[in-house]
Structures are given as structure tokens and as C-alpha cells.
Symmetry: C2
DNA sequence: TCCCCGAATGGACGATTGTCCATTTTTGCC
DNA sequence: GGCAAAAATGGACAATCGTCCATTCGGGGA
């Protein structure tokens, strides 16, 4: 056996992962509609029965792939937030920079995200994943904006700023998805921070959080 | 004949339109993936061969449906812009209100728009339609923002404001698509105008363009 | 070395897809 | 009312879909 240092179960989980990666690549390249069982097993270089063996069926594989892609997104976001300096404004800036970084905002990841979320509208299981991702992001963002609002401003301003920021970044993802070749990350970030520095001049400037 | 007052070509175009509407309804309700020929002709109450007869094939029907949906969007937008008072700020406000109005931002239209634009990533014909829509909107918006920028501000601010506004509204559409029941149009509009009034205090307030 | 059992294979299967066309129905005109 | 042409029908067709299982493969324990 070529991979003699592997145990059996490691090899098994290799094939599981290979199927997930092949499914995600297919979704990214040719879309969810054209991602058939034949397409996936050809890309993975495995045999037809593997999907049924490891996942029970095609749908379960796609769901596992969605779960995998979601976990990767969170891993990057949480790592970047953990690395951010103390302070609410710095945390917000870290989230924005993370969401616009090449590690998260790249053709493959964005394509997968839009394909799966598109399916979420008519598939309850997918909907649960994208909802979790959205709600979690919104909650963290609202909490952070409460920390940058001056004490005398109404609480609603923090909520509005959180939604404004999430919506704007969301819209920029869409722009990136449609025209990745014309997208300028620094320009996109500057637009977001121009809005934020206009709303909260003491917390943000055009580069992100003030005083970093 | 039941519809004796119709000419032949009018009845023919009725069936064409019925197929387009049935396709769009199917796309909105069950998604593009599950929209099959059988599904469309069942909804239209017509026979199997009609799609081939009127459009030459399923793909051509879907493209015609995309064209139809796009034309409806523009018709509403241009009507609302034509009804806007003079002035750049008023035109921008009219565009935002139009894009957030129930006539444009409703479950059916939004579902169709997202389904078709999702397919645009892997289908050049669809891509052309969504690009046209996006580019046209951006151009009009940039021109309008040039009109509200104070003379001493750099030209780039107008461009940034246009992108910021389009991105934010785009993000709100996404929010609406995912959670139409929790969406508050007035709240969404207020967030957009809060950002704009912060960037251009003399042109906008929380309700839209100033002095209307 | 042989055996065993889980891993992996790939073909068979019925269901469903989109296309196409022979046939029937309806229309406008004489 | 009859006739040619257009419109509409719905079943046949090959291709492809996802599922499943009889079979083969391969490595660790006896």
C-alpha cells in the first residue's frame, strides 16, 4: 500500500474529505445545479459508491460540504478577531478587514457561499447554516458598536450602524462575486471606513480604528 | 372559440407570456434547480411541446423570462425617477425609495432576481443581463452623487458614495431575501439616509433628500 | 500463510430530464 | 361550409440523474 503509514480510519476520513472538497470545487466551478454525483466522483478520483458509503446520499454530502465551508469561514474570522487589539472599534475593524481579506473573499469561497445560500431559500437545512452565520455576525457587530457609541447617543444608533456595516460589506461581496477582476479590496475597505468615520468620527478613520 | 375577440397572434403571445410567467413563478417558489419543463408546463396549463414551439428549448425560455423580469424592474425604477422632483439629491432618494418599495422589493421579485443572478456566475447570457442592470444603476448613481458633492470635495467622494449606497441597498436586499418577515422598509431606508446625511449633511436628512 | 472483514469498486436500476415530432385541433379566409 | 396553414397536443426518445448492491480489493491478526 502506498500510504502505509496511515491507519485505515485515517484513509477513510481522507476519502470523506476528498469528496467534500470535490463537491465544493464543483459547486464553485460549475454551480450547484450542474454538480452531479458523476461530477463529484470524477473530481475526487473515487468510485461511484463512495458517496452512498460515506454520507448515505448526495444531499447529505452537500450538507456536509456546507458545514465544512461554514466552519472554515468562522475559523478565519475568529482568529482575526482574537488577534485584534483591545477595544470595540478595533474589533469592528478586524471583522471588516477579515471579511475583505483574500483568505475569505476569494473566488472559490465566495462562489460556494453564494451557491449554497441561494439554495437556502428553498432548503431548510441550508437555511439553518446561513442563518446561523448571519445572526452570529450581527450579534457580535451590534455588541461592538454599542462600545463605540458616545454615551449620549441613542442605543438605536449602534443597531443601525451594525446593520449598515453588515449590509455594505454584504453588498461588496456581491460586487466581488460578479466582478472579481475589477475589485479593489483597499478601496472597498476605505468606503466602509469613510462611512464609519463619518458616523463615529472619534472611533474610526479612513484606515480603520483610530490610533492603532 | 372562447376568446373570439383575440387575433391569432395575440393568443400566441398570450401563451408565450403564460410560459414566461409560469417559469418565473416556479423559479420564485421552488428555485431554478427544480424548475423543469414538466414543472413549467403544469403551472402554465399548456402542453409539453409549447416550450419548444415558442422558444426553441428550455434554456431560451429561461433567458426570455430573465429578460422579462429585468424589464419590469427598470420600468418601475424609471417611472419613479421620472416622478422625482428636480435635483440630484431628490433623484438619489427616489432611486433608494424605489429599490426598497414593495413593488420592487417583494418575495417574488427578489427570489427571481437572486436565483437568476446566482446562475449568472456560470452562464454568460445571464451574466450579461445582471451586468447591464448593475452597471446602469451605478452610472446613474455616480452621476447623481456628483451633483450633491460640494464643489471643494474630491470627485472620488462621489464615486465612493455611489458604491457605498448601492452596496448597502444590495445588502439590504439580501437581508430581505433571507428574512422577509422581519424586514422593516422604513428602518432600512432610515439607515441608508443616516449614512448619506452623515456624508452630505446639506443634501440629505433621515427621510431622504432635504427640503422636499 | 491464510483468513477475515471493512473499504472500495463500478455496473444495473428505475426515475426523471429536455428534445422532438407525428398527430390533432383551431384559425382565418374564400 | 370547406380548406390550407398555423397552433397546440402529448407521447416517444435518448441521455442523465441518484441510489443501491453484488463483487473485488487490501491489510492486520492468527
Amino acid at each position: 500500500m502506498l500510504l502505509s503509514s496511515y491507519t485505515m480510519s485515517e484513509r477513510t476520513s481522507d476519502n470523506r474529505l476528498a469528496l467534500i472538497e470535490a463537491a465544493l470545487t464543483s459547486i464553485a466551478e460549475i454551480g450547484l445545479i450542474r454538480t452531479s454525483v458523476t461530477e463529484i466522483i470524477d473530481r475526487a478520483g473515487l468510485s461511484r459508491g463512495m458517496i452512498h458509503l460515506h454520507f448515505g446520499g448526495k444531499d447529505a454530502l452537500i450538507i456536509a460540504a456546507a458545514e465544512h465551508a461554514n466552519a472554515q469561514y468562522y475559523q478565519i474570522l475568529e482568529r482575526d478577531m482574537a488577534a485584534a487589539p483591545d477595544g470595540a472599534a478595533a474589533r469592528i475593524a478586524a471583522m471588516i478587514h477579515s471579511d475583505l481579506s483574500a483568505e475569505t473573499l476569494n473566488p472559490r469561497s465566495v462562489a460556494i457561499w453564494y451557491e449554497l445560500r441561494g439554495a437556502a431559500r428553498t432548503n431548510a437545512t441550508f437555511a439553518a447554516y446561513s442563518d446561523t452565520r448571519d445572526i452570529r455576525l450581527r450579534r457580535v457587530m451590534e455588541a461592538a458598536f454599542s462600545g463605540v457609541s458616545p454615551a449620549d447617543t441613542p442605543q438605536s444608533l449602534a443597531q443601525e450602524a451594525a446593520i449598515a456595516t453588515i449590509s455594505m460589506v454584504e453588498g461588496m461581496w456581491t460586487d466581488y462575486m460578479l466582478h472579481p477582476e475589477n475589485f479593489d479590496r483597499a478601496f472597498a475597505a476605505r468606503i466602509v471606513f469613510r462611512m464609519l468615520s463619518s458616523l463615529f468620527p472619534e472611533a474610526f478613520d479612513l484606515n480603520g480604528a483610530r490610533g492603532l
